[in-house]
Symmetry: D2
């Protein structure tokens, strides 16, 4: 297995030279563009890693999957989906257009930025507690007590997060968000700035593959129904507005982040973490997608 992973990385390593690092969050533009790593964690407890699997990167949009589950635990399905929709959009992750032209006005799904900000605003906890609950949730899921935010990235996101700010105020205007917008944005910027490795991401995948129970501890952290729901969103909306193509070519429920990471779940079998900071124009890891495509084909992992 590790040999195969290494071969796949080698085959795709040239792709890291194409694509670009995101510049709208200046701190992210400092990433190592040619890093490429993977970690596969099986329910059996075995773990296989290759390449730059110890490379640290910020989790970015991958965090949306985890906060969605926490918001569902806190509020239940009915409440969460009264404020956020369930449909893919076909628009860019930072698009606001449908908020204006579709009635009633609510973000189309929890995987685009607007939806994820709305979800984060629903997580329980006053002041510091809200983010601390999210951080604890991540620590328990990954079994990594050292996960924390990358302060430089967090400050960079906060300073340059005007598009997200625009969405958040728009959503408060139409009643999707209530309460302190800047406080919710601050939590959102923090959750996006969590620093992880492929191993951490693979553990999140394993937790989802195991329907909400952390295999190592046997602790149930989320209802099976909520993890199933999260995996479904990963298929229909997980790769921004390239989700449809990814479903066809790879077929594994996945969520990407502009930090270059991809979280993938093979239900009942394995969690996968991939990193490759060079992005395509839609915001997905350009080499990461191809690595997963090769892995999916070799191991026949597509759910379709």
């Amino acid at each position: 297995m590790e040999k195969m992973l290494k071969d796949i990385l080698d085959k795709n390593s040239d792709l890291t030279k194409s694509g670009n690092l995101p510049t709208y969050i200046p701190e992210l533009a400092k990433a190592n563009k040619t890093a490429l790593g993977i970690c596969v964690a099986e329910l059996s407890g075995k773990q296989y890693c290759a390449g730059d699997y110890q490379y640290s990167f910020t989790i970015q949009s991958i965090s949306k999957v985890v906060t969605l589950i926490l918001a569902l635990q806190d509020n239940g399905i009915t409440e969460v989906f009264s404020r956020v929709g369930m449909e893919p959009t076909g628009d860019a992750f930072n698009s606001m257009m449908k908020l204006e032209i579709v009635r009633p006005s609510k973000p189309f799904n929890p995987m685009i930025n607007a939806g994820a900000i709305a979800v984060t605003s629903m997580i329980n906890g006053e002041g510091e507690k809200r983010f601390n609950r999210i951080l604890d949730f991540f620590k328990k899921i990954t079994g990594n007590p050292n996960i924390n935010i990358n302060e430089a990235v967090y400050m960079s996101e906060k300073r340059t997060g005007d598009r997200n700010r625009a969405m958040a105020y728009f959503m408060r205007d139409v009643g999707v968000i209530t309460g302190d917008v800047e406080a919710s944005l601050d939590v959102y910027f923090k959750q996006c700035s969590l620093e992880v490795t492929c191993q951490d991401v693979a553990q999140i995948g394993l937790f989802l593959a195991n329907d909400g129970i952390v295999p190592a501890t046997g602790e149930r952290l989320a209802d099976s129904e909520f993890t199933k729901l999260a995996k479904t969103f990963m298929v229909t909306c997980g790769m921004y507005n390239a989700s449809g193509e990814f479903a066809i070519n790879v077929g594994i429920p996945s969520k990407s982040g502009v930090g270059g990471g991809i979280l993938s779940v093979v239900p009942g079998k394995m969690g996968i973490g991939v990193v490759g900071p060079a992005l395509d124009e839609k915001g997905n890891s350009i080499a990461g997608i191809k690595v997963l495509e090769d892995l999916s084909k070799m191991l026949k992992l597509s759910i379709f």
Copy 2:
């Protein structure tokens, strides 16, 4: 099994009173609004039916799955997807907006009307031959030599199909469609007007569940890759702009039509045909969706 199907229909029969018959194709408004039927065909060869499973209805958008496969057989993946995208849209099935604002201009996927018309325009065959090839393909897949178009519905579609006409001419303007627009529309209106029962639809599902081989005859009619691709589209875009919610609540690759039918596929296991002509505001059978949701939960059919 038949008892269970009957119970599910009974439980949901009241739903047929809500919803509406489509009025934009006048002939469809004459359907029996309270009809409700289901047919489940297993790979084993067994078939279970209940309710109005012999009720005849026009296949409408369900045909898009079949013509996509035929166009792929004729042209290959590269050519087909040079003209049609792979992404869900979040817009209504008859929306043209993204054709105008997204560059390059091409329909987002083969399951919305614009995409399906483009796909049909790519199917080989001069004059009458093009539709005849489609009709033969349907006959072979369903094993029903008597399938044919409902003339009244066909004429009604042709007469009132101005929105589809608008899309087709727009697409020729931007180069997605070449050749005679009215000829392609005529084939499209015909394929939508094919009259079927739940049994026919279940056989289409079985053919997809069996990766392109008709179980009864053992004949391979389509590449496995193309049927897999079709099933993926059924998940991401099969239920119009309610596909995301359907994936979460039901989780079975499906395609609906405004004739009230739904085609569902449980990969490797079964094909399902459901009919219930009363539609919700997005164009899906209001009772049909709930019937599939109940069936999915009872038999644990969700792929997620």
Copy 3:
């Protein structure tokens, strides 16, 4: 005056080298890109011309002003504006987006293509008569009995007019247009293909400047109210989605066409015809606009 006109043309003649001839109507791409001419007709009966004022070009969108007036004569204000709006759009002349997202669905104004097609569809006359009435109206307004269509351009428009076709069918779908779409389009393509010179266009301007009475004959061809209305549209929507900037920089009610012509009206004083086939990216004569700007400043012709 003629000296001044000549000087203005000389000053701006270099601009004809920038810009482009339209390629979407192949026949228009054959125009003489460096032609530049102007004709100013005063109510006093005097006429001043300079440059390529005898250069023939097709009238294109300038015709929309004339057909609007004829449709108002035929149907009255209430009927015409039940089908077409009065607002500038900010969108390109061939945009369809607002037809889809604004309710009720009707073209925003009679100066964009969709609105002009709807207007033409309302002009009285069976079969050939409809266009013949338009042609007669043009002949009387201009006093030029030889005006006729350029057959090559007409055929080119008809062959490549798929975007207009798309709009027209969309409008029939939503009830803005009734009757035979291709027949209305045919009249529209013909009216756009009328071949004129700057002198003809200046005469149209003079007719508008004189509130609907042809100065030479004293014949009232249109209600004063309708010509006033037409001049107002020329200010708010006459230069496509550059109308606002033109109002500020020039301030003369004007209507441009992709044949390179511009019709301008100084109310109560003069009609102006300008031609310069090289267009900017919004479809307006690149040199023509500057010629009018200079003339407006020299003679203080702005209405603002």
Copy 4:
């Protein structure tokens, strides 16, 4: 004249019963819905008033005309229009859609909210000074040293101004606005909250009618070119997305505000202030428009 004004008000007073007070700024919903007043100030120095001409209301969007002129004085035409466009939009005053879909991203004109906020952000002055300069400008133009903000409305705007906040952050994201967004919004909310009467508004109109010189003092407060530019925007974009219809029916350069006021200018002749707080669905005074239409027809004031 006063008799005529009174008759016009009487004729249209019933219209104040239809329409609605704006509810999105709660404090505005407390206005006197049936108030109706007018003031006409002539360049000769004469002033004619009728009805509730002493009724106080907040100036709201009418202020956009004045701040545009001040921003032009501060920055010049090139700089201002590098950040704001010159085109009418056809969209609602609080629409953000074109910011997202049109490139380069900048507000279409200075009369919609986004454009006006961008304009205000360009006015010189650190801290308190910026708004104080605006206030002084208003005092000099109107000759009313007592003009000031309505604190309750200002606080209400600030508290509920999330849509404006969304626009402002979006614009900073795309580089249209630089610097402290909340500070610019605060100035914008204050300028909208200035309390005026019809007499004040008529004086603003007079200043514009007189090309930038206050008739009473002879003081030139603005370049003639900038006031001409402002009047042009009042024609093409002054009445929100009803500007086209208003140009046709009334034909006087005007700017409305959701406080129920309308500023009108008859170039070279008079300034007019009208108030009637009940609004139509586009945000214009429902009775005010009709009062101006009657006045325009009686005195032949249309510029077209």
